[in-house]
């Protein structure tokens, strides 16, 4: 009787716990062993984004990115120790700024790094660092051709169907992702207003 109780009630629970412990420790081991790599990837990704937004050619290799970043970018922290904005340096003089900006997207928040000149009269570039748009549709905002449309201009931008933009203020929307394009445009246009008024664009 006792053995049956053991077999039907206790053993499955013990077994389940054992299996859980084994698998979770294996997974945790793998996680911990790659954690530094993931952190490095993330910081490198951010550095690349800032350089891209500042219209500085981004080198392919990680070490080279670090070097360029250190010589061209100065991080300005706010009172809480977080990055408030980046100063872009040219011959040790401030030539422009890069800031985080963001707002709602179709699915979740969209966050970008927006770079602009010291005179606050032109965007130097836009790079998206966080977005959860549909892969292959809205997620195409991360594609080169879409981001390049904002470089060197000063909006406010209007959307036109993909492949028809001609005037400086026109931006090609992404076919099948008009709403994501709308959200992105709103973020950028709002940031532009902030920039013109001499404020820092922000995460909304």
């Amino acid at each position: 009787m006792k053995s049956r109780f053991w077999k039907e009630r206790i053993f499955p629970v013990v077994f389940m716990v054992a299996v859980t412990v084994v698998f979770i420790s294996v997974v945790s081991g793998i996680y911990l062993s790659t954690r530094d790599m993931v952190k490095l990837n993330e910081s490198l990704f951010l550095k690349r984004a800032v350089l891209y937004a500042a219209d500085i050619t981004v080198p392919g290799k990680g070490a080279a990115v670090d070097k360029v970043y250190r010589s061209r970018v100065r991080e300005r922290l706010d009172s809480e120790g977080l990055v408030n904005h980046f100063e872009i340096l040219e011959d040790n003089e401030i030539s422009g700024y890069a800031v985080f900006a963001g707002g709602p997207g179709l699915w979740g928040k969209i966050e970008a790094v927006i770079g602009f000149t010291e005179m606050r009269d032109k965007l130097t570039g836009v790079e998206f660092i966080k977005q959860n748009e549909t892969p292959g549709l809205g997620a195409r905002i991360a594609e080169e051709w879409f981001k390049e449309q904002f470089r060197g201009k000063m909006g406010p931008f209007v959307l036109v169907p993909e492949g028809t933009a001609q005037a400086e203020k026109e931006v090609n929307a992404i076919t099948g992702a008009t709403r994501t394009s709308n959200f992105v445009l709103e973020i950028i246009n709002q940031s532009l207003e902030d920039i013109k008024e001499g404020e820092w664009p922000k995460l909304r």
């Binding site: 698998f23 979770i24 997974v27 945790s28 996680y31 709602p104 179709l106 699915w107 979740g108 928040k109 959860n132 709403r179």
Partner: protein, 196 residues
């Protein structure tokens, strides 16, 4: 967007414009096999809605109060699926004891639900989209109702289809997929109705 309206907007978006089945293809397996009959579709739809709404709430709490503070974010897949499986088992046991009619109606569908991708999908989406507690709940509820709506409509259409002549290669799964595609098109018409 006004924060008081936001959860409501999430709800309607989940039901119509961003329907979990028609826009994200989640829960297809049971959708294709169960939509053959109206009665079972209603049972499964109700069960999915219930489990989705409650597990999204549970998993939100687990994620924000246990996983994040302990820096165990990477274990969320395991934890979510275990919470869902455990919850489903619990509900099955309770229903079995409490009401025989309810068990007869819903009970058999509950085991099917653990492997319904839509439930885990809702939990993963809600985390990645940074919803707050209330929005997560309305998102789960809305997704469930949206799924219910889709399977109900499909079951209705398929009953009519039973007497229609379909090209042989398209019988069964093929024609169901084409109809689903059309439904997806129709639901896309709701786009623009809700602004998140």
């Amino acid at each position: 967007m006004n924060s008081a309206v936001y959860p409501l907007a999430v709800f309607f978006a989940a039901v119509f414009t961003n329907n979990i089945l028609l826009a994200n293809y989640l829960g297809m397996c049971s959708f294709l096999s169960v939509s053959r009959e109206l009665k079972t579709s209603v049972g499964l739809g109700a069960a999915v809605t219930f489990v989705m709404a409650t597990t999204s709430l549970l998993n939100w709490l687990v994620y924000h109060y246990i996983l994040l503070p302990l820096d165990l974010d990477y274990l969320r897949f395991i934890v979510f699926i275990v919470v869902i499986a455990a919850f489903v088992q619990l509900v099955e046991m309770i229903i079995e004891r409490v009401s025989e009619t309810l068990y007869a109606a819903l009970g058999i569908f509950l085991p099917l639900i653990t492997v319904n991708c839509a439930i885990l999908g809702v939990c993963l989406f809600m985390v990645i989209r940074d919803y707050d507690l209330l929005s997560s709940f309305t998102f789960g509820l809305g997704s469930g109702i949206g799924w219910f709506l889709a399977i109900l409509a499909m079951a209705g259409i398929r009953q009519k289809l039973a007497r229609a002549r379909v090209p042989r290669g398209l019988e069964g799964a093929g024609i169901t997929l084409i109809i689903t595609g059309m439904m997806a098109l129709a639901f896309m018409g709701f786009t623009g109705m809700i602004k998140l």
